[in-house]
Symmetry: C3
């Protein structure tokens, strides 16, 4: 990680509340797997399967569970801790640089009536349009834009080249990743006198606290009324959310998923990669939709569905098994059916 | 909509040619559904199903059909009009602000030989490359780019961060939404001596009048010859149109559709979300391709297809029904078939 | 192609090592098919099917195989050459303008510690972040960005609005097309205490020599460890490559493909449009994955798979044939099965 602050093995041990075996002064500047780590890097051992990797590893220090205490020491310093994986997460967060230099880059533009609370970071050529309001500690990356009248809460991050378009309302700690566009006009066409005719989109977009919108994703505002994404929901790269969609809290929506207009996704739903939801549906709380599924009807709460059209995953598996057994039978059947 | 001009209920009534029941001086600054509208907002009632919502609504005024004249008045002013939905569209269009401030932002760059007719709006850090030509009333958003030698007709809009790349030719009233890239080099690789080798793409891209290209969509120019999108066709977010594709007039192409090289889509075709068309195909006039369909052969005019490989939707439904009936039969069949 | 240098028919003949029949001084400024070419354009004739087009063509000159020597001359000058298509490629490459004007645009920003070797082209509002290093002859387009500590080899091209994010390492001759974002943080969420919780992504992204990343594509860096794309691999528009994916050499990955975290794609694999690969899989060397396939298990080297879940394409075809034969049989079966 470029420019990450150094941590010694001793400091790491203290940070994770572990027990150090070896040298406390080893300098660590990054993290890697046992196989690839070098002497300045921290690694971890959480499964007996990787003990051989540990013995061959060049890592400067290794996080491991106390159960590995007796493992023959390799060259590495060891840090014993109950949950090495979660401990690694804590170290990684400590390594992360401050997100930004606070202040306004001289090339950034702030239009009339735009304002913020406390400190702000506006990158190169960032643009804050008229009457936009930012909470404290927002970071607007290079080339990023906050549209006219948009509102951001505290600690929001709009990454390089991303856009929060006019009138969108974001809660606290919302992340809009590079190239994502949120709050634009959606695809509202009817056919009038034989040609497509646009419905103006004058609704809004509301993104609640702790939501993340992935790289190059697109989220349209409502036509009338709003599009809304609930607290804590995470949206991956290249997802498309159409106008008037309502997504609940704590959902995980993976790369390249598409959700058509006015569909409702309740809390705690998982939509796996490339799944598609037709318009005006409801996906019930806690449902799981498998990758590439095509959902064209309501999905009950708690269901796991797959395929096109998406059905209960158990039925899909059963049908697939029947199909595999079927092929050799069809010829036999045709023979029995006799001449047509 | 932020900063929209106020309209009174009286002005709205005049605009839509309706009949006012109630106060003409109610100030309206936006629109919303009956359930969510506040006292400064216009709503509409078009179906008896929502009469209860009307009675509870806080809307400042409600557009409704004359058939609801006798509905017990709620607190709202009523505007009777034959088609409330279309009337709402007219009001929304009236509310829409002028698209832009005319003029050239001091941070915009205009390269040698670039020129336009009449007025233009060039946003923050917009870039007009050498020899590009714009018609009158074009709006080039912040960070947007018109490439070298590209030509735009009148009233075109290239939104924030969108790019019309070198040599593309756009008709009148074309909209290129935020982050869309049109006219770039496509994916023209053959395999030469065991490794991918690029075919230069020196063809062009032609986008006819009244076309809309969605947010973060990509349209490649031709290798030799052109890519062309016909008059009035609307393309949604994250669609990909490859080199040398020809799309007819008045098509609707929904989010995340992909069309591979040299395929022809005739007039009035609808491609639903996430559908994919293989290369060198022809989709006949007026055909409809269901969401997520995988088209790998020609589709006749007027056909409705679905599934992978895409087949007539009626056959797909019939086959799905047969499959559902099949599962219980297979075990029975295997029993009858006897030992292998 | 706008502003392409003129070539005479004589110069083209010399360039391709052909034989000229006709006028050596015809000026050629572009290329087109026989049907659409004008008097200043070069075309080609490679199949007897198009002889009639040749006779009607207005092309200024036509590349053709020696076998067409006896074809009655049209108005066009002819250039005989063994492989007209490959000859056309050579001419097109000659026509291509130098990619850029060398030098640093006054609006480009170069942060502290950023540096390059030899010449560079930095476009309007391009941004080179702290400690980024570029090889010689790199072209960074308008509004494009090279992140903190990123390293580019020689002859790389980062097109308009594209971003190479912090710490990514690119080899020589890498092309990152318009709007592509490489090296960003991926979608690493686990569920902790009932809510999604982010794993920091502090790994790296390595893109080897001669790789191309398509328009608006996204490639995430590793969480721990790296994401890597092998030498000569070509990635099309709107592809998504998740964290810790490893792609081999000379792969072709077509538009809108998605590859989930930690999956391994070996050398010489072809992934057709909209295919999806689940996480933690291995696709063997030389495998071919058909368009829209959903891969949810390992694919052996050399296999050709299709469908969802992806299986050997031959089995898919066989099963589809069985299904088509099945529908009329099911009713018959049900009749034979008798009352339930």
């Amino acid at each position: 990680m470029t420019g990450a602050p150094h941590l010694t093995a001793g400091q790491v041990t203290e940070l994770v509340g572990g027990e150090l075996i070896g040298r406390a002064d080893v300098e660590l500047v990054g993290a890697a797997t046992l196989e690839t780590a070098g002497p300045g890097e921290l690694s971890f051992l959480a499964s007996p399967r990787y003990v051989a990797h540990f013995h061959r590893s060049n890592a400067g220090a290794v996080l491991m569970t106390p159960g590995f205490r007796e493992v023959m020491p390799g060259p590495a310093t060891r840090i014993l801790v109950a949950d090495p994986y979660s401990a690694m997460g804590r170290v990684l967060r400590a390594w992360q640089r401050p997100a930004a230099t606070w202040g306004v880059d001289p090339t950034a533009r702030i239009e009339r009536g735009a304002r913020w609370t406390g400190r702000v970071s506006l990158g190169r050529h960032a643009l804050i349009e008229r009457e936009a309001r930012l909470g404290s500690d927002c970071v607007i990356g290079p080339g990023a834009m906050v549209g006219e009248g948009a509102m951001l809460g505290d600690d929001c991050r709009v990454e390089a080249g991303a856009q929060v378009l006019a009138g969108a309302v974001l809660g606290h700690r919302v992340v809009v990743r590079a190239g994502a566009r949120v709050g634009g006009e959606g695809f509202g066409f009817g056919v009038e006198r034989g040609a497509p005719s646009r419905t103006p989109h004058v609704g809004t977009l509301v993104i609640e606290d702790d939501v993340e919108i992935g790289t190059n994703a697109t989220v349209d505002r409502g036509t009338l009324g709003e599009t809304r994404i609930g607290r804590g929901t995470k949206i991956d790269a290249q997802v498309h959310v159409a106008h008037n969609v309502r997504i609940g809290e704590r959902c995980l929506i993976m790369a390249q998923v598409g959700i058509a207009g006015s569909t409702v996704v309740e809390d705690d739903v998982i939509l796996a990669g490339q799944a598609g939801l037709a318009d005006h549906l409801r996906v019930g709380k806690g449902a799981r939709v498998a990758a590439q599924s095509g959902v064209i009807g309501d999905i009950p709460a708690g269901a796991t569905v797959s395929g096109y059209p998406a059905r209960p995953h158990r039925d899909v598996l059963r049908q697939a098994a029947a199909l595999r057994r079927l092929t050799p039978l069809v010829s036999d059947l045709e023979r029995r059916a006799g001449p047509k």
